[in-house]
Amino acid sequence: MSFKLYSRNGRLLKHNSGQIQLNETLFIIIFIILIIVFGLVFFSQAENDSIRTKQKEYRQLDSIVTTQYVTSLTELKCSVYGTEDQSCFEEIKLTAFENLTKNDWDLVGEYYVNKLGTAKITIEEIYPQSRNWTIYNYTGTFEKDGVAYDGKQTQIPVVIWNPLTGKRAFGVLYLTVYNKVI
């Protein structure tokens, strides 16, 4: 036995109430599901952005730590009777360190890779002469894992002091820290 719908003037309606309500319910359910899906997608996207931002901030802080570490390397800094000079590197120490890096990377790498990670450090004399020292260059794992890296270069002016002549040259420390691109 089926019910039939009638309008006010007694005309038979085409659909019965059950069908109308079923359609309505279906439409509402689909709409609510759409809203929930949209919300979930948005929330996951926002969370993803938040993680990326945090990651970028931490990478920047890491770069700061590396920069501070490099500028305060006792192995390279000028010192007179044990007193270190700010923003000053000794020319002889730079040459010695560069030679060590070139000739005995295993020894240098064993210690400094843990401290500096993937990076390149070059010191360039700008005035009066023009020359440079590459004291650290580690990009060892780049090819192995196939992950993209980006490098941000930082320039820090430094005095290059020659303890034999006593002259102080104007130099720049170029530090490029490479980070994984995620």
Binding site: E57, T67, S87, V158, R168
Partner: protein, 201 residues
């Protein structure tokens, strides 16, 4: 029987019933609109609050300005330090450097060379200023320091100031805290300050 069914359905689809349903649907619609609006508000506030803090850029700019000023004044030039040459330029101008140039001419030449090989080369926006406070006017300096349009030497209440480029609001924005290297001028109590500040871009 048929008649009674018709009565039941008529009562079901009467005006009052339709009004009630319509009101409920409007409430539902308003509820959905509210949810969507709240989501939009949340998204907007989220995107506004999550600007890049540029932690490293600020640090690098401050470090660059500070180191530049310190290293500049310590650099050896003309058999002495840059700070001594600045002192001589501001006072006696007795030091004669290579090519027969006096201290002020040598300083100007060196500053241009250094900046063109560093900050200009790296495409940095900066302000470079050497300020001598409480000094007497000396017109000779103007001709020595003003080599090209970028350099400026001006007098302000009996103080001379040498500038090479500066931060402007139109192009580079606000200058970050500059690196300052003060040089005391003998026993006079005056001070020459070398200021180098990066412009916030």
């Amino acid at each position: 029987m048929k008649k009674s069914k018709q009565i039941i359905f008529r009562s079901l689809f009467s005006n009052d019933h339709f009004n009630l349903r319509a009101q409920l649907e409007i409430i539902g619609l308003v509820f959905i609109v509210l949810i969507v609006s709240m989501a939009m508000l949340f998204y907007l506030s989220y995107s506004v609050n999550h600007e890049d803090k540029q932690v490293f850029k600020k640090y690098a700019d401050n470090e660059l300005g500070m180191s530049y000023a310190t290293v500049f004044t310590k650099t050896s030039i003309c058999g002495t330090e840059m700070s001594k040459l600045l002192e001589d330029c501001a006072t006696t101008k007795r030091i004669v450097c290579a090519g027969g140039l006096n201290s002020c001419e040598t300083l100007n030449k060196t500053i241009i060379r250094l900046l063109s090989q560093t900050l200009d080369k790296w495409d940095k926006a900066y302000g470079f200023t050497i300020r001598w406070t409480d000094s007497p006017l000396n017109d000779d300096y103007t001709s020595n320091w003003q080599v090209n349009g970028e350099n400026a030497m001006y007098f302000d209440n009996e103080k001379w100031v040498y500038t090479r480029r500066n931060c402007t609001e139109e192009t580079t924005g606000i200058r970050r805290a500059p690196g300052i290297s003060p040089i005391p001028l003998g026993m006079t109590g005056d001070t020459i300050t070398v200021e180098i500040g990066m412009c916030a871009q």
